[in-house]
């Protein structure tokens, strides 16, 4: 590590380090990918990789990437859910890796649901 000679140096390291450990916090913004056997067979791994790449490209650190098992809608796999705090949870499917940048840009970042890929919307209980 370089010498820390001022408060600014310290704050810079703090910010960088907090980004790296963001996954250890409870994040309300989530992307949930269906990783049951059906999901994996339909290519959920590639979708997951695409999500991680896109998040890294856009430097979005405060998003929790979670997996879930089969929810019974196997013909629509790979399924991908987007949760934004205070909004409805939206399930997309079948998602191709090439759809991921659009979902992240439009929905996750800008809050506009990508209607042509929507499978279901789960109303926010609050």
């Amino acid at each position: 590590m370089n010498k820390i000679t001022s408060l600014e140096d310290l704050r810079k390291i703090k910010a960088a380090s907090q980004e790296k450990t963001e996954a250890r916090k409870n994040n309300d913004t989530q992307i949930i990918i269906g990783m049951g056997t059906c999901g994996i067979a339909a290519g959920a791994r590639a979708v997951m990789t695409a999500v991680l790449e896109e998040l890294a490209k856009r430097n979005l650190t405060n998003v929790a990437v979670l997996q879930t098992g089969c929810i019974g809608m196997c013909q629509k796999e790979p399924l991908l859910d987007v949760v934004r705090p205070g909004e409805d949870r939206v399930t997309y499917g079948p998602v191709k890796p090439s759809d991921v940048p659009r979902i992240i840009a439009d929905h996750l970042v800008n809050g506009v649901v990508v209607e042509d890929l929507v499978v279901a919307k789960i109303p926010n209980k609050e």
Partner: protein, 596 residues
């Protein structure tokens, strides 16, 4: 590497390491690589997470799933199921001992829910080998604030306002200690961290050093600035190799980053730190003996005054605080004295870390605000007594402390209420005892410890503890006589008044407090030659009653062939051969074997 979507935190505190955490850590690395997940998941080694009973512990974020008793064989399943497919491995989740309910999330576990973690906040959550992670957790902010915006006098004043009292045992106000040393004249002063944790059953200092070493360094640097010192020592016992390794690593990182050494943060403040490894003598936890040991002499106490603040290490003014005290310092200067003083009771501020051991379900570290009751610590956090047995007492403060019986369970805990109860805070070790513990035997256990650890310099401690131990041994072996208790009381009084250091002065405490609350047990040993708890082997025997069906199980299990009898006939125990192990009694399906 892109940002990791998941973090696998493996506890590598001494407890978990002893049960195989190193292999688990390595296996996670292998399995994750084999599944091609190594670019998206990071495996982090952390310090002690406090819940040692459940070790080895693994926490997986972002979900915060808490896995207990993880074995190397389980790792492949966790990687396949949880990390790849997102399915929690149910059989490894923690079960609440009282309700047998499975709890998936770390923060919902009763053990953690009631705790208030200020000092232990980073332990188990950051990688202790990473300075970046410590800074990310607001580390070294307090030092920067102190050096850039406060004068040493202001730091001492602020410390006095917090009301923080030394966490090592005596409970002397830390701010006062700093003030005495700051006012002591002389160009050279030392600041010392007492990491010679020696009480049986206490391990909070070790966990802090292992889990958050930079916090101790930061606390010491702030203290050094306050008293005008530029050099410090950490006296840590060599039995804590992991703590020493992590401390050394932390010191070299902080030096490299310019947070220790010359001209820290460009303020002109210099501070360097050394580690002194101790050989593990209990007496070296006493401040004057500790300093003698750093100087290379035999670790023996000397009379005070002069106090270390006047004449300490190498005759220079020195300030010595305990590990946990220093660990409080960065938090105090981040939030301010007023905010800190909101926690706790009138005369004892802040939190205290207790080490829970003995016959308790959730062995581990619990940090709670001062003023909480012992009942909350033992039953809500500790999960109650193993096997649903009856609570009998709790020894608090190790061999220098005393025991608290059931009727005191609802006393709010602080320094003064414990002294009033005949115990003391000590370092905060709690040894919980159930109905099977003999209180005379307990006093004997602690006295055996202080006796063998007595340095031998002063007569009251050297001879007095030996005589007390002899009397206790006689009582537990059925050779007790009328008048023994009075003799013990007289000896205890003389030792308390006459011993040179606090270790000698407090050595009779376990006897005095057991006498105070469990006098009837002493009487039963001496007059009736009986041990009510059935723990003193010389005073118990086993008999087979007429309920015996002659199944022969007891005969089979007896290790010394003391039981004879025909199949389907009455069996008997030969008292001359019997070693009173009790194996027959626990094996008998008809409850036909009784103590007596």
């Amino acid at each position: 590497m892109a940002l990791a979507r998941a973090h696998v935190l493996v506890c590598t505190g001494t407890g978990c390491t002893a049960s195989g955490a190193r292999d688990i850590l390595a296996k996670f690395g292998e399995e994750i690589k084999a599944k091609g997940l190594d670019k998206e998941i990071s495996v982090v080694e952390t310090g002690c997470q406090g819940f040692c009973e459940g070790g080895p512990l693994v926490i997986i974020y972002p979900e915060g799933t808490f896995y207990t008793h993880v074995k190397v064989e389980d790792v492949a399943e966790i990687v396949e199921e949880h990390l790849l497919k997102g399915r929690v491995v149910g059989r490894l989740l923690f079960k609440e001992p009282m309700t047998a309910e499975k709890v998936p999330n770390y923060s919902d576990i009763g053990f953690y829910k009631k705790q208030h973690r200020l000092v232990l906040k980073n332990c188990g959550h950051i990688n202790p080998d990473s300075l970046e992670e410590y800074i990310g957790a607001e580390g070294y902010e307090a030092l920067a604030k102190v050096l850039l915006t406060m004068t040493p006098e202001q730091v001492v004043e602020e410390m006095k306002k917090t009301g923080l009292r030394g966490r090592g045992g005596g409970g002397f106000p830390t701010g006062m200690k700093w003030m005495f040393c700051a006012k002591s004249p002389g160009p050279k002063k030392y600041i010392i961290c007492n990491a010679d944790e020696g009480d049986p059953g206490a391990f909070m200092d070790r966990s802090l050093l292992e889990g958050d070493p930079h916090a101790i360094l930061e606390g010491m640097a702030i203290g050094a600035y306050a008293i005008g010192s530029d050099e410090g020592y950490i006296y840590c016992r060599a039995e804590y190799p992991l703590a020493i390794k992590r401390l050394k690593q932390a010191i070299s990182q902080a030096e490299e980053a310019g947070l220790l050494g010359q001209n820290i943060l460009g303020t002109g403040f210099n501070f360097s730190l050394h580690i002194k490894e101790g050989a593990g003598a209990f007496v070296c936890g006493e401040e004057t003996a500790l300093m003698a040991s750093i100087e290379g002499r035999r670790g023996m106490p000397r009379p005070r005054p002069p106090f270390p603040a006047v004449k300490g290490l190498w005759d220079k003014p020195s300030n010595i605080n305990n590990v946990e005290t220093f660990a409080n310092v960065p938090y105090i200067f981040r939030v301010g004295a007023e905010e800190y003083a909101k926690l706790g009771t009138e005369k004892s501020k802040g939190t205290k870390v207790f080490a829970l051991t003995g016959k308790i379900n959730n062995t581990g570290l619990a940090e709670v605000p001062m003023g909480i009751t012992m009942r909350e610590i033992i039953f809500d956090i500790g999960g109650g007594i193993i096997g649903g047995k009856k609570f009998k007492g709790v020894q608090i403060g190790g061999p220098s402390g005393g025991c608290m019986p059931e009727q005191l369970l609802d006393t709010p805990i602080d320094y003064d209420s414990l002294i009033a109860a005949g115990a003391m805070m000590g370092s905060g070790g709690l040894v919980v005892m159930d109905e099977d513990t003999c209180m005379v035997d307990l006093a004997k256990f602690f006295l055996t410890f202080t006796q063998s650890e007595s340095c031998g310099k002063c007569t009251p401690c050297r001879e007095g503890t030996k005589r007390m131990l002899e009397i206790l041994t006689a009582i537990t072996e059925g050779r007790g006589q009328e008048g023994d208790v009075e003799k013990l009381e007289r000896l205890a009084k003389s030792i308390k008044a006459g011993a040179l250091c606090a270790l000698g002065q407090t050595a009779p405490n376990p006897i005095l407090s057991t006498l105070r609350y469990f006098r009837d047990e002493y009487d039963a040993h001496i007059r009736d030659k009986k041990c009510p708890a059935g723990a003193c082997t010389a005073l118990i025997g086993y008999k087979i009653t007429a309920d015996c069906k002659g199944c022969g199980l007891c005969k089979k299990v007896c290790p010394v062939d003391a039981i004879s009898g025909e199949m389907k006939g009455q069996h008997t125990i030969d008292p001359n051969k019997c070693i009173k192990c009790g194996a027959c009694m626990s094996k008998c399906p008809f409850k036909a074997i009784v103590r007596g």
